[in-house]
Amino acid sequence: MRGEGANDPVVTERFSGMVDARQRVTGDVGYTIDLTLPAMLHAKVLRSTSAHARIKRIDVSRARQVPGVVAVLTGADLVNRGDLQPYFGPVYRDQPILAIDKVRFVGDPVAAVAAVDLDAAREAVDLIEVEYEELPAVFTIDEALAEGASLVHEGPPRTGETFADVIVKPTAGTNICNSFRLRKGDIEVGFAESDEVFEDVFTSPPVQHVPMETHACIADVSGGRVTVWSSTQIPFVIRTQLAEIFRLPQSKVRVIIPTLGGGYGAKCYPKIEPLTAALSLVTRRPVRFHLTREEEFLTITKHGVRIRLKTGLKKDGTIVARQSLCHFNTGAYADIGPRLIKNGGYGTGGPHRIPHVAVDSHAVYTNIVPAGAFRGYGISQAAWAYETQMDMIAERMGIDPLELRMKNLLDDGDTVMTGEPMEDAHFKELLADATSYIGWTPEDHEPVRDGSKVRAKGFSCIIKGTVTPSTSTAAAKLNEDGSLDILTSSVEMGQGLLTALAILGGEPLGIGVDRVNVSTPDTDVTPYDQQSSSSRSTYAMGTAVQRAVREIRRKLFEHASELLEVSVDDLEIADGAVVVKGVPERALDFGAIVRKTRSGNIVGEATYRTEGGLDPETGQGIGSVHWHQAAAAAEVEVDTETGKVTLLRYHGGVYAGRIINPVQAELQTEGNLAFGIGQALYEEMLFDNGQLQNGNLGDYMIPSFEDLPREVDINVLEYLPADEIHGIGETSLPPVMPAIGNAVARATGVRIVDLPITPEKILRGLRELDARRATAEEVPIR
């Protein structure tokens, strides 16, 4: 928060790296899957082979006979117990722990086995017999919205406690599980005032997060408590939901989170924890459940989305109106879809100054794998639409695409789509840096041909919010030797959170990361944090941690003031000690203060809450506590004979406010490039009648070394006068796909509006262009 660090000691040396680097290169870092408990059982799940069906019969008798099997569990067993609330979900409680009465997608868990080893569990799963009565299924948005469409969920959604920012508006009797609406200005007036109006449709497919560590959970239900170790990004939501399921006070549920092997949103919200805990309940033994890669693909995806975008402009290129209709395919269970459509919906407003904006954004149930949080949280899909359309408009209007953007990008004081004034805007600077790196000039951006290969450049610029309002709390303890413990429930998943909090926590006391330890989450011990997502942790938890440590500093000064018999105002911090200003020999090191006052330790705690939220009817209010900003520029080479796209050069720019850990900031931005290349060029989960066709790493490619451009330039833009930290975990991802897409379109003349940009689509487009040219040549020009 701005201004709070005014009295912090001046930091002279900036730490850059990871505090647990040694553990990370020796294999010693400790993930959930590395834990073993005495008498621990292993779980396996039988999954639905039908996309939508009633369960007529399940026979588990042969499975129960397998030596080593301790329990076989079905949804009916959970219902029959009567002591559980067998549904979960972060907004709606629509997802059963195991299918109850019906299955809703191919891969839906139907029955589970806990056994002494995986071999026995696997054998038992193979022996479970299920008879289904098939129901009509819906897979696409059109099928789900059709008149008389089969309903994925009947009846009104089961609601429960959820996040403060979630607006719940389901449409009864349809597959629309939630809608978000935004009205800024008057869209009709906007189009009436427009000289040109362009309407285009863009789609993004479902893709999978593919964290290298798949979901893993160990549960131990004993002694009246539920304890889970889980690879989750959100400890306190897991706790809330397990308390609800097991009908326990939250204090009787304990969630412990070792470091994660990647998350990217896949590990937000409950996934396998309820089932693992249920198996522990029935077996009275600890149970481990670790998804195979194939199961990971059946657990959660990025939303497939269709966005219809209508943009009205003045002749000179000034945007005056934008209307969007967004349909997010949220799959068989809502997960966080009902909230994500808000961000994805308002996100279509883009980083532009537009007086009239209207958004209707819907989450639609279908019979495919549930979709949920995914790095970028709806903004990638929105940015793919508006940044592709910006180039299409520029071409149609004969305006340079950079000029068109520069004319419309937000400046300080302009109102963003949710109606609040923009502050600390850096869009233009980021985009100028990006385009300058690839050498973009309005005069010279024609494609360059070399035989069958053609090169061209493209770029993009995006805006992203962070969840608002939100809450983080932290505690810190100063020990007898002057070292510092930080207690936090933020999750380390590779983004370098432990390091960032160690740096930030040390700052108010002027101590380095070597004297600071940052905890991993344990809900019995570490204070509340809302979620490690939305690029919020370094900013929100970082602020809470700094406040907690400043509380310690206040107490240190009070103690030192008594011990040294001087006023608090005459004290300062230097080299791990409280010193009388101007009298360096009158000093007490931190440890001495703790010892002399017999404090045991000096404890500080603090909360950081952001305020805001949107009006449910107009989507106006405070959309984000501050706005994340990024730009990208790419140069590609397309082989017009094969359709293959090679990314030659790439510049990723992101606004960081204050950079906390330079190398980590670069890594996040480089990582977003790698992540985005896959989504731009080939990642797509392919379904055939609801059956996933490519759910393994043989058929579903993710970027390797060979996909990266030879030249990568990263601009993590720091602007210290703003005195604020901006999250950068996701921000530089959304611009990757449109930057590449715009370059490919410029190179080939083929405009692809449906991700990914595959060689097949390029070749088909080139053939159509050739056919059109041939036809045109036959027509005599008059």
Binding site: G27, I33, M212, G494, L667, G671, A674, L697
Partner: protein
């Protein structure tokens, strides 16, 4: 490569206990280890579950991602594709075997630390082991060759730029060491 179970007349039957388990003698990180495993268990599973070597990790289960890379007689192989009995008679190296007995990191590990060639680091042991094998094979490897060699190791966090910095720096340090330089 000749594998232990390959006899001249096909694989010889191996004696198992009543639980279907074989007793295997493995050479792991310079030590001799006796483990119990069923014939279909992979070396990945055995190294983790029987020997508590958690640096070898499953990522895909089908040999596509490299997270379970181990060195078998110095060459990188996917632990998820190698059955434990096939590893008998070979020298296995895991990430836990790279440090010196005094706890000094291998040059490749140190380079990864110095360049922060990782984020979540789930894939890191695989990358480091593959890199050590690469630099044994090709001490003067170029960036392009390294890219091709390491294309079988996937990093979803996308730390590739800094991984390449780490690999090339390790190459240079090892070269300096060979020519009598400080290696730093």
């Amino acid at each position: 490569m000749t594998l232990a179970t390959d006899g001249a007349n096909g694989p010889a039957p191996l004696p198992t206990d009543e639980d279907g388990k074989l007793t295997l003698t493995l050479r792991v990180n310079g030590r001799t280890e006796r483990v119990e495993a069923r014939a279909h268990h992979t070396i990945l599973q055995v190294l983790r579950d029987e020997l508590n070597l958690y640096g070898v990790r499953e990522g895909c289960g089908i040999g596509m991602c490299g997270a379970c890379t181990i060195l078998l007689d110095g060459r990188p192989v996917s632990g998820c594709l190698l059955l434990a009995p096939q590893a008998v008679g070979h020298e296995i190296t895991t990430i836990e075997g790279l440090e010196s007995p005094e706890g000094e990191l291998h040059v490749v590990q140190q380079s990864f630390v110095d360049h922060t060639g990782f984020q979540c680091s789930y894939c890191t042991p695989g990358f480091i082991l593959a890199t050590t094998a690469l630099l044994e094979e090709k001490p003067d490897v170029t960036a392009d060759e390294a890219r091709e060699y390491l294309a079988g190791n996937l990093c979803r966090c996308g730390s590739y730029v800094k991984i390449m910095d780490s690999v090339l720096d390790a190459r240079d340090r090892l070269a300096a060491r060979r020519t009598g330089g400080s290696g730093q």
